[in-house]
Structure formats: C-alpha cells, structure tokens
C-alpha cells in the first residue's frame, strides 16, 4: 500500500492546504477555519479531522501516540495508530512523555505536556453554538459580532432548572477573551489543562470541514458565573488499580449485583504509576484485595 500513496496517505498538495489552514488557525486562536476536508479511508465520526491534521503534521522523525477515551488500546486508537504505521512508517509509543505528536479522542493526557509536543483532537461538532442555533450562516455571524448572549442564557437556564450548569463534557470556553470555542467532547475535568498549555493544541473536524487551534500558552477561560464558578469534576474515588486520586476515572461494572470499580481512563498514566510501585484496592498485592 505504501508505494501507491504519499507519506502519511494524503497527497502533498492536500497536506499543504491543511498546513496553511493550521497556520491561520494558530494565528486566530479559537476561530474555526474552514478547510477542504478530504474523504479518508475511515468513516466520518471515526476521527477523519484528527487524522487529516495528524497526516499534515507528521514528519518521519515523529513518535506518535494515539488514544481514545484516554486509552491506547481501545479499538479505534489501535486502528488509527496502525493506519499511520502503515502509511507513514513512524515510530509509535504509548508513553505521553515520549510522544512528539498525540492524537486524541475525548481526553487530555494526565501527564503534563511539554513544549514541542502537538496534541491533536478529533472533533465531532466544532461549533459551540450549534445546539443553540443550527444554522452555520447564523453562528458564523454570531462569532463575528462576538454575540455570545445565547450561550450565557443557556448556562443560566441550566442553573435555574437544575441548580448547576448541566454540561459535563465539551464544556464551552473563551479563548484569549475573544472566541467561544468547543474543546471537543473532553470531560470538563480536562478543561483546566487547555489553558496555558506548553504544547500546541490542534482541533480537526473532518465532516464539518473546520480546524481550530490553541497556540502554546494560550489563555483559555471556562464560561461560568461568579456565584456558580466552573468546577472540574470526577468520580469521588481512587483508581482501584494504581491508587491515584487525582486522575479522571472510568467506572466499570463488575457484576450484576451492583459491584463496580474505578480505574484511570488514561492507561499510560495508570501503567506508569503501577510500574513505579503504586497499587490500588484491587491490584494484585494491593491494600485490600
């Protein structure tokens, strides 16, 4: 296959088009730049936007990590990692600290990112206003005029109805005091990592033909109210495998009698901790297995 296709699948002129879009997106943080999204050999919704951005950024020296739901071993992460092994022949890793480029779906890794790293998000619907206003022609105008009242009304109505802002993932943010941005469906637990991050953060939405970006150290503020401040949340438990109390947890149903356990959604973070000797409740040789 590799002989018949360019490095990383996309032809060079397409990669150039995407790189130009990326430069524009980095120059106007949080603004959704339209690009001529290509059809990819995986379905829309499987990360075609992220895959195109990764293909446009990859160089042969890169070390690639792909995660889905924080995990390296979920089927779609395996599939995308294999795609780039096959089409670009780049080195791959599961370690966040070793990767030069990380493609992710729905999570930001627990380990802090460094300068020089690129984090590429797969984005289903890049428009934070979409479910308030279905028309693209209208939402583009609203962004141009900085007309974000509708979003604040929505958050306010949440509080009036539920007593809290009822958005737990894909929580809207404001970038450098200008554009309201959808951070992709990451849990709001991850939102604080968006701001001031030393890595480049790129967001690719293939089906919607949009790319947006956060350059390193961009100021990203979560939308909230003084009396209802933003608050990142996670399950009130520790990881049952590595004992971590600060990581985002997946809840796993163990049996049909209500038994459940929690474990880190970030598999690399969890494995690294266990290798360093940390053990949780259910780990072999753990505290109270």
């Amino acid at each position: 296959m590799t002989e018949a296709y360019s490095f990383a699948y996309l032809d060079e002129s397409t990669k150039r088009m995407i790189r130009r879009t990326l430069l524009k997106a980095l120059a106007v943080p949080g603004y959704q730049v339209p690009f001529a999204s290509r059809e990819m050999p995986m379905p829309y919704g499987w990360g075609t936007g992220g895959v195109q951005v990764t293909a446009a950024c990859l160089v042969p020296e890169d070390v690639l990590k792909v995660i889905d739901q924080g995990a390296d071993d979920t089927t779609n992460a395996v599939s995308i990692r294999r795609f780039f092994q096959r089409t670009a022949g780049v080195a791959v890793t599961e370690h966040t600290t070793e990767a030069s480029l990380i493609q992710t779906r729905h999570r930001i890794p627990e380990a802090p990112l460094k300068e020089g790293q690129i984090l590429i998000y797969q984005v289903p619907i890049p428009e934070p206003l979409r479910f308030l206003e279905p028309r693209e022609s209208e939402t583009r105008k609203m962004h141009a005029l900085e007309e974000y009242g509708l979003m604040h009304v929505k958050l306010y109505e949440d509080i009036a109805r539920h007593g809290a802002i009822a958005t737990s993932y894909g929580y809207p943010v404001k970038v450098e005091g200008r554009y309201v941005m959808d951070p992709s469906p990451i849990p709001k637990f991850d939102n604080p990592k968006l701001s001031g991050n030393p890595a480049i953060q790129l967001f690719g939405a293939g089906r919607e033909s949009r790319i947006h970006a956060l350059p390193p150290y961009t100021r990203v503020v979560n939308l909230d109210f003084e009396d209802h401040p933003f608050e990142p949340t996670k399950a009130d438990a520790a990881c049952d495998l590595c004992g971590a109390t600060t990581s985002y947890l997946d809840e796993v149903i163990m049996d049909d009698a209500g038994g459940r356990m929690f474990c880190c959604s970030d598999t690399d973070f969890c494995a690294t901790r266990r290798a360093a000797g940390h053990a949780g409740r259910l780990a072999p040789g753990g505290e109270a297995a």
């Binding site: 339209p34 059809e39 829309y44 919704g45 075609t48 992460a77 693209e136 947890l249 997946d250």
Partner: protein, 360 residues
C-alpha cells in the same frame, strides 16, 4: 480484575478475518467475478459511480463485492480511493444534446424531433418474480437493429425558442468543486447541483417527493429525460485545443415548472435540472425537483419553510458518507463522556433529594 477493553488489537484482527469469511459466504457456491457484477448488477454499479463521484465501472463493481453488496459502504470505498487521485482540471461543458441516446422520453409532448425512445426501462414491466431467472436459463437475446442517426435536440430548447422558458442562467467558467474547497453558504447553483448529484439517492428522492406533496411546491413536468453516452472533451494547454478523452454514460432530466412573471414581465416556465453519472433516472428526476425547489429565492418565490427549500439543510445532510459516518460513530466508545454525565446526574439528584428532605 479489569479486562474489559484489553485485547483491542486481537479483536480487530479477528473481526477482519470473520468479515472476510462472511463476505465470501459458502465456499461451495461459486465466487462472483467483478465482470459479473459490472454486467449483471449494472444499476447498483451506476449508483456507486454516481454517489462515489468516480466514473469507473470495474472499481465500482469491486467496491460492491468488497462491501458485500452494501452500496453505501461501496460508495465509501470509492470516495476514499477518489480522494487520493490528482485533479487535472475541468472538462469542456458536455454537449448532452449530442448524446448517443439509449433512452429519451418527454412527458410534455406526444412526439418530439428525434422521437420518444423507451429504451431499457422497468416502467411498463409487470413486477412479477421471474422464476425462469432462478432456473439459471439464459435469457433470449433481444433482436437488434441499426441505430438511426436522427438528431434529438433538447426538448426544452424547443420551448426556449418561443420564449416560453426562462433563459438558462449563466454559470461560472470553471465550475466550483466541493471535494476541493470547503462548502460555503449561500452556495451557487452549480455547487448545489454537484452536491445533489453525489447526494444519497434515498435522501434526494424523499426531498423531491416532499415537494410534490406540498412542502415547497415544484409543479414539475418531465420536459425531457435522456440517457446515453456523451463524449468528454478537455482542453490540453500544451495543444491549445480540446481533445476527446473518453465517453461517459449520463442521465439528464430537465423539468418544466410553474411560471414566473408579472404584469410587466410575460409569464415563463421555469427549469429544474438533474444530471447523474450512469443510468439512474430516479435520482436525476429527484435532483431536478430539489434543484427547482432550492431556486425559490432567485425566482422571487415565497419561502414556505419547507425542508427542500432550505439550502443549508439540504446541502448539509444529503451526503450519505457524512451522514452514515456520523450516525454510526455513536457505536464508538463514549465512556469518558458518559462517566461525566453519570457524575453530573448523581450530583443533581443529590441536590434535589437534599432539598426535598429539607422541605419535609
């Protein structure tokens, strides 16, 4: 112990192996050849070519075989192949009036210059299962006759001569291409037609049908429907003139629709247009109705809020590869998002319970 998501790699390999075996089916039954699909499943091949936007019967047949007959999956395979091909340029406008006709009908005139040619159509067949096909007998060969070389000019052109048709609006010299540039709204008519031509047949059919039932009235007559081979010419910059680079089979539909006009402007019929790769007349007719419905603004008609009048709605949702991808992606794991929803709903319930208890 926690084992739920481990083994992704092995699971994928095993699933692919199983899929390949299922695709083949019972090895005791002879395997389908690409040529068999190309020749005997020609309308499926046509649909895959049209919605895949790639005119190659063998590749479409291969895609159908590989997709186990799932035509949207086959379209997807063709699209993913097409996207890697370089775009050399645009052809000259195709002269569909010079089409080598295999079928050509007009519903607006009993007879037209060039004649009505029924061609290979299901239209007047009785839909009774033909059990002879099951008995694997060869069908008798149809009698043949030499083609008559009669010019068959466009029917709407004849009305045009009397000034009864609205003039054809001028298009851009180089047509836009939504596979090479992001879709911008409002779109030009040429771009809308491109989107419809590669749009899902079922979706476009449903929209067209809705206009017939009053959701944006189109009042369409099939002025002409023609199917046949048309030469493709391309200007070669080094040569400075156009050369013929091949033929493609096309289905073209032109509808005659309700008038426009006023006290000062004499009334005229309006047009809807459909053009599809291969023989696909259901799609071509549907496309021309939707095209006409989308022209409401240009023709000074009322927007009744009908879905088929809404350019953004139609163009954003007619592509079945986009639609099926986004629809089916909800099969992918979402446990991180779901977990955050779990936390939220538990928190909201705790709050409500506490408030109820306080009231009691």
């Amino acid at each position: 112990m926690y084992v739920a998501t481990k083994g992704g790699e092995r699971a994928i390999d095993a699933a692919h192996g199983w899929l390949a075996a299922e695709r083949r089916g019972d090895p005791g039954v002879a395997e389908l050849s690409i040529a068999q699909i190309r020749e005997q499943m020609a309308l499926a091949v046509n649909r895959v070519m049209a919605e895949g936007s790639l005119y190659d019967r063998d590749l479409a047949a291969l895609a159908i075989k590989q997709a186990r007959g799932d035509l949207i999956e086959a379209v997807f395979l063709i699209r993913a192949y097409r996207t890697t091909l370089p775009r050399f340029g645009a052809s000259m406008p195709m002269e569909t009036g010079a089409m080598q006709i295999t079928r050509r009908i007009s519903a607006t005139f009993k007879d037209v210059p060039g004649g009505q040619v029924l061609g290979p159509t299901f239209d007047y067949t009785h839909r009774l299962l033909d059990f002879a096909l099951m008995a694997e007998g060869e069908a008798p060969l149809a009698p043949r006759a030499p083609a008559e070389e009669v010019p068959a000019p466009h029917v709407l052109g004849l009305l045009d001569r009397d000034g009864l048709m609205e003039p054809v609006p001028e298009g851009a010299a180089v047509p836009p291409d939504l596979t090479r540039a992001p879709l911008e709204l409002p779109a030009s008519r040429a771009l809308r037609l491109q989107a419809l031509a590669r749009g899902d047949e079922g979706f476009v059919l449903g929209l067209a049908y809705s206009t017939q039932r009053g959701y944006g009235r189109t009042h369409a007559f099939v002025g002409e429907l023609r199917i046949g081979m048309v030469a493709v010419e391309m200007e070669i910059p080094e040569l400075g003139f156009a050369v013929e680079i091949g033929d493609v089979e096309l289905t073209e539909c032109e509808t005659v629709n309700q008038f426009i006009g006023s006290k000062t402007e004499p009334a005229q019929f309006t047009r809807g247009y459909g053009l599809v790769l291969g023989q696909s007349e259901r799609k071509a007719i549907s496309m021309s109705l939707v095209d006409r419905a989308l022209r409401w603004e240009e023709l000074g008609e009322e927007n009744t809020g009908a879905p088929a009048q809404d350019e953004e709605f139609v163009l954003a949702h007619c592509d079945n590869i986009q639609a099926t991808g986004f629809l089916e992606h909800i099969k992918l794991p979402h446990y991180v998002d779901f977990q955050s929803e779990l936390e939220l709903i538990r928190k909201l319930r705790r709050g409500a319970t506490a408030m109820n208890e306080a009231e009691e």
